[in-house]
C-alpha cells in the first residue's frame, strides 16, 4: 500500500506540472493583464509599474520567450533579477537555496505576492481557507447524508410516489442556477422575512474581520454566541449548495443502488431468508457504496477550492471569493497559487478515492 501511494505520488508530479502550464497559458490568453489594473490608478507612476513588472519577469505585451520567462520565474527555474537560468551564486536557479539555487518561485516555496494587494499569496490563501472549510464542510456532510438517504429510499421504493417526488425535485434543483437560487433565498429569508442574515460570515457591525488575530481573541472570550452567529450566516449558503448538489448526488446514489438491487447476489441474500433490512443495507448498499465512495472522495477537493458563485453571492470570505477577485483583477500570482494548490488537492483526492476503493472492495489489488 505504501509503495502504491508513493508511486502514485511520483506519477502526480508531471500531472500537476501540466495543469500549471495549461492554467498559465489560459491566463495569458485572457484579455488584459496585471499592468492594466494599475493603469487607472493615478497614485502609481509608470516607473513604479515597470519596476514591479520587472521584479516578476512580467512584460506588457510578452512574446513566447517572454511568457516562458514569466512562467520560469513563477516556477523558480528562471532568475528574474538578471541571472537568467542561473541564480545569483551562479548555480542553476531551480536548485534548493542551500545548494546555491535561487529563492524565487514555487519550487522554493515562494508563491509570490498578490499584484493587487501586495500581500504574500500563500498568506492570503491560508487566511481565506477556514471560512471555506466551514461552508463547504457543513454543506458536504449534509448533502452526502441527504443524498444517500434519499437515493437509497428512492431506489428501494422505485416508482413509488416518494421516488417520483425525489426525481421531480432533483430535476428542478439540478436545473436551477446557483446564483438565482441564492438570490431568491436571500430575498425570501433575509430581505422579506428578516429571519437570517443576507451575507457575510459574521455580523457586519462586528469591529473585527473574520479570521484576524483580534477576531479570534474576541471569539474565545465568548465562543458560544460567536458560533451561533456563524451558524446563522451559514444557513442560506449551505442551503444553496445542498439543494443543488443533493439533486445530482441522490440520482447517483439511486442508480447505483438500483444497479446492486438487481444483482444476483441480492436474490441469493433474499433466498437465504434474510430480512429486507439486512438484504438492503448489508448486501445491496455495501456494494452500492463503492462508486459512491469514489464520488465522495472526489468531492472532497471541492472542500478547499470553495464554491465561487455561492461565496460571491453571499459575500463569504472564502477561497471561491478570493479566486473570483483574483480573476477580476488579473492577479496572476494569486490565481496561479490557488490553481496549483487546487490541482494538488484534486490529485490527492483522486489518490484517496483509489485507496478507499481498494480498501472497500476486496477484488481490487494494486
Amino acid at each position: 500500500m505504501g509503495r502504491y501511494i508513493l508511486r502514485r505520488s511520483v506519477q502526480a508530479i508531471p500531472v500537476i506540472f501540466l495543469i500549471a502550464i495549461v492554467s498559465f497559458m489560459l491566463m495569458q490568453a485572457a484579455p488584459g493583464g496585471p499592468a492594466a489594473a494599475f493603469n487607472q490608478n493615478p497614485k502609481i507612476s509608470q516607473a513604479q509599474i515597470d519596476g514591479w513588472l520587472q521584479r516578476w519577469c512580467l512584460e506588457r505585451n510578452p512574446d513566447v520567450v517572454g511568457m516562458l520567462r514569466e512562467f520560469g520565474g513563477w516556477l523558480g527555474v528562471y532568475n528574474c533579477s538578471g541571472g537568467g537560468l542561473a541564480s545569483s551564486s551562479g548555480m542553476p536557479n531551480f536548485l534548493p537555496a542551500f545548494l546555491g539555487g535561487g529563492s524565487n518561485g514555487v519550487l522554493h516555496g515562494d508563491f509570490g505576492f498578490s499584484i493587487f494587494t501586495g500581500q504574500p499569496v500563500l498568506g492570503m490563501i491560508l487566511e481565506r481557507l477556514p471560512a471555506t472549510l466551514v461552508l463547504t464542510g457543513t454543506a458536504l456532510i449534509i448533502w452526502i447524508t441527504l443524498a444517500i438517504i434519499l437515493g437509497v429510499i428512492a431506489a428501494v421504493k422505485r416508482y413509488s410516489l416518494f421516488d417520483q417526488a425525489v426525481t421531480l425535485f432533483s430535476y428542478i434543483f439540478y436545473s436551477l442556477p446557483t446564483f438565482w437560487l441564492g438570490l431568491i433565498l436571500i430575498y425570501l429569508f433575509a430581505v422579506d422575512l428578516h429571519w437570517l442574515p443576507a451575507q457575510g460570515i459574521i455580523n457586519t457591525r462586528s469591529p473585527f474581520s473574520f479570521n484576524t488575530p483580534a477576531y479570534w481573541t474576541d471569539f474565545w472570550k465568548n465562543p458560544g454566541p460567536a458560533l451561533v452567529v456563524i451558524g446563522q450566516h451559514l444557513i442560506l449558503p449551505v442551503m444553496t449548495l445542498v439543494a443543488v448538489s443533493v439533486a445530482g448526488d441522490s440520482r447517483f446514489v439511486r442508480s447505483s443502488m438500483l444497479d446492486t438491487l438487481s444483482q444476483d447476489y441480492v436474490r441469493t441474500a433474499k433466498a437465504k431468508g434474510l430480512s429486507q433490512r439486512t438484504v438492503i443495507f448489508r448486501h445491496a448498499f455495501r456494494n452500492a457504496l463503492l462508486p459512491i465512495l469514489t464520488n465522495i472522495a472526489l468531492e472532497i477537493a471541492f472542500l478547499f477550492s470553495g464554491a465561487i458563485v455561492t461565496e460571491t453571492i453571499f459575500d463569504w470570505p472564502g477561497m471561491g471569493r478570493l479566486y473570483f477577485d483574483g480573476v477580476t483583477n488579473r492577479d496572476y500570482f494569486l490565481l496561479m497559487g490557488i490553481l496549483l494548490i487546487g490541482s494538488i488537492l484534486v490529485v490527492i483526492a483522486n489518490l484517496a478515492a483509489d485507496v478507499i476503493y481498494a480498501w472497500a472492495d476486496p477484488r481490487i489489488r494494486y
Binding site: 434474510l274 472497500a360 476486496p362
Partner: protein, 376 residues
C-alpha cells in the same frame, strides 16, 4: 406418479409422502405492453427425498415457477393470479412475509444458474454461509463458522478452514457453485430447488456438480426440484419429470415413461433433437418455429403452430382443460376432443408411440434411436 394434470384445487388431506404440492399455479407479469402469463396453470408435486425434473426450453416458465415457490418475485410487476403451493400441506402463498422468510433458506433452499454472480463480492465465503446458519439455526457465531466449514467439507472443497476466509473472486466457477450448494444445504432444507445449476459451468465440472448434488441428496434425504433443459441430466438424476411449454405442463410422468414413451409431440421433439453418435455429419433435428409470443398466444393448443401432428381441434380447443384423471399429456392425440376424431394419418403417431413402448420394454434403446427406428 402422484400428479394429475390440471387438477382442480382440492381440499383433500395431503398425502404424507408429498412434500411440495403445486396446484394450478398462475404467475403473471404486468408490464408496459400487457400481461405475460409466464406460468399459466401449472400443477405438480415433489415427493419427500425424491427428485423431480422440470424440463423445457428457455422462456417456458421453469425459473418463474421456482421463484414463485420461493416467493422471490417482486409483486408488482409479478402477480400470483391463482393456485396453491402446499409445503407439507401448508399453503405458503398465504403465509405472511415474516413466516415465509423463516422458510426460505431453512426449509426450502435454492441454487441459481449463475455461480459467478450469485455470491456477494464484498463478503468472505464463510461470512455468507454462516449468515444463514446464524439466522435460521439460532446458533452462536463460532458454531455457525464451524458449521460453515463442515458444509464446505461436505461439498468437497479442500482446506475449508482456509476457504471460508476467501472472497468469491478468489474461487473458480465450480468452487463457487459448490459454495452455493453448501450455503443452500447448511440449514438442512427439506426441499432444494436447483435452477439449471450446471448451465454456466464447463462440461467436466457439470458432471462433478451433478454427482455432488446427488450424493448429498442421498446423504441428507433432501428432496430436489431440478430445473434443466438438459435431457441427459434428467435421465441421470431424476425420478419424475414435468415437461413445460409456454408456461404450462404439457406432459408428466416417471423418467422412464417420459423419456422412453413420450406422448406429447413437444416431448417427442425435444428427445429427437438430442444429437447422437449415429448422426455424425447430419443436421440436428430441431423443433420448427419458435416459442409463441407471450402477448399473443395461439388459440387452442399453445404448441399447435409448431406441431407436426396438428389437426382441427388443436387450433380451436385447449387440450389443458381436462375432466378428471385423463392421460398424462396435454394433447388431443391422447385425449378425446369433443366432436372431433383423430384422422387416419395421425393414427400413425400413436402406433409409433406404441412401437416405442414395446421396444423400450424389450431392449434398452436410446429414445432417439427408437424414433429413428419407428420412422424407417
Amino acid at each position: 406418479m402422484t400428479v394429475t394434470l390440471d387438477r382442480p384445487a382440492s381440499d383433500a388431506p395431503p398425502r404424507a409422502d408429498i412434500l411440495l404440492d403445486v396446484q394450478d399455479l398462475r404467475t403473471y407479469f404486468h408490464v408496459m405492453d400487457g400481461t405475460v402469463k409466464a406460468v399459466d396453470g401449472v400443477s405438480f408435486s415433489v415427493r419427500r427425498g425424491e427428485t423431480l425434473g422440470v424440463v423445457g426450453e428457455s422462456g417456458c416458465g421453469k425459473s418463474v415457477t421456482a421463484l414463485t415457490i420461493m416467493r422471490l418475485l417482486d409483486i408488482p410487476p409479478a402477480e400470483i393470479a391463482s393456485g396453491r403451493i402446499l409445503l407439507e400441506g401448508k399453503d405458503i402463498l398465504r403465509l405472511p412475509e415474516e413466516q415465509m422468510r423463516h422458510l426460505r433458506g431453512n426449509e426450502i433452499a435454492m441454487i441459481f444458474q449463475e455461480p459467478m454472480s450469485s455470491l456477494n463480492p464484498v463478503f468472505t465465503v464463510g461470512n455468507q454461509i454462516s449468515e444463514a446458519v446464524e439466522l435460521h439455526l439460532k446458533v452462536k457465531h463460532k458454531e455457525a463458522v464451524e458449521r460453515s466449514i463442515e458444509a464446505l467439507r461436505l461439498v468437497g472443497i479442500a482446506y475449508p478452514e482456509r476457504r471460508i476466509k476467501q472472497y468469491p473472486h478468489e474461487l473458480s466457477g465450480g468452487q463457487r457453485q459448490r459454495v452455493m450448494i453448501a450455503m443452500a444445504l447448511s440449514c438442512e432444507p427439506k426441499l432444494l430447488i436447483a435452477d439449471e445449476p450446471t448451465t454456466a459451468l464447463d462440461v467436466t465440472i457439470q458432471a462433478q456438480i451433478l454427482e455432488l448434488i446427488r450424493s448429498i441428496q442421498q446423504k441428507t434425504g433432501t428432496a430436489l426440484m431440478l430445473i434443466t433443459h438438459d435431457l441427459g441430466v434428467v435421465a441421470e438424476m431424476v425420478n419424475d419429470v414435468v415437461v413445460m411449454y409456454a408456461g404450462r405442463v404439457v406432459e408428466h410422468g416417471t423418467v422412464d415413461e417420459v423419456l422412453l414413451q413420450p406422448k406429447h409431440p413437444y416431448t417427442e421433439g425435444l428427445l429427437a433433437s438430442i444429437p447422437s453418435k449415429g448422426m455424425r455429419g447430419q443436421r440436428l433435428n430441431v423443433i420448427k418455429g419458435a416459442v409463441p409470443n407471450p402477448f399473443n398466444m395461439p388459440k387452442g393448443c399453445n404448441f399447435s403452430p409448431r406441431c407436426p401432428y396438428q389437426f382441427e381441434p388443436c387450433l380451436d380447443l385447449d387440450p389443458h382443460v381436462d375432466e378428471g384423471g385423463g392421460p398424462a399429456a396435454a394433447c388431443w392425440l391422447w385425449k378425446q376432443a369433443p366432436g372431433y376424431s383423430i384422422p387416419a394419418r395421425l393414427h400413425e403417431a400413436q402406433v409409433r408411440a406404441a412401437l416405442r413402448a414395446a421396444e423400450a420394454s424389450q431392449v434398452e434403446v436410446s429414445p432417439v434411436l427408437a424414433v429413428e427406428a419407428a420412422e424407417e
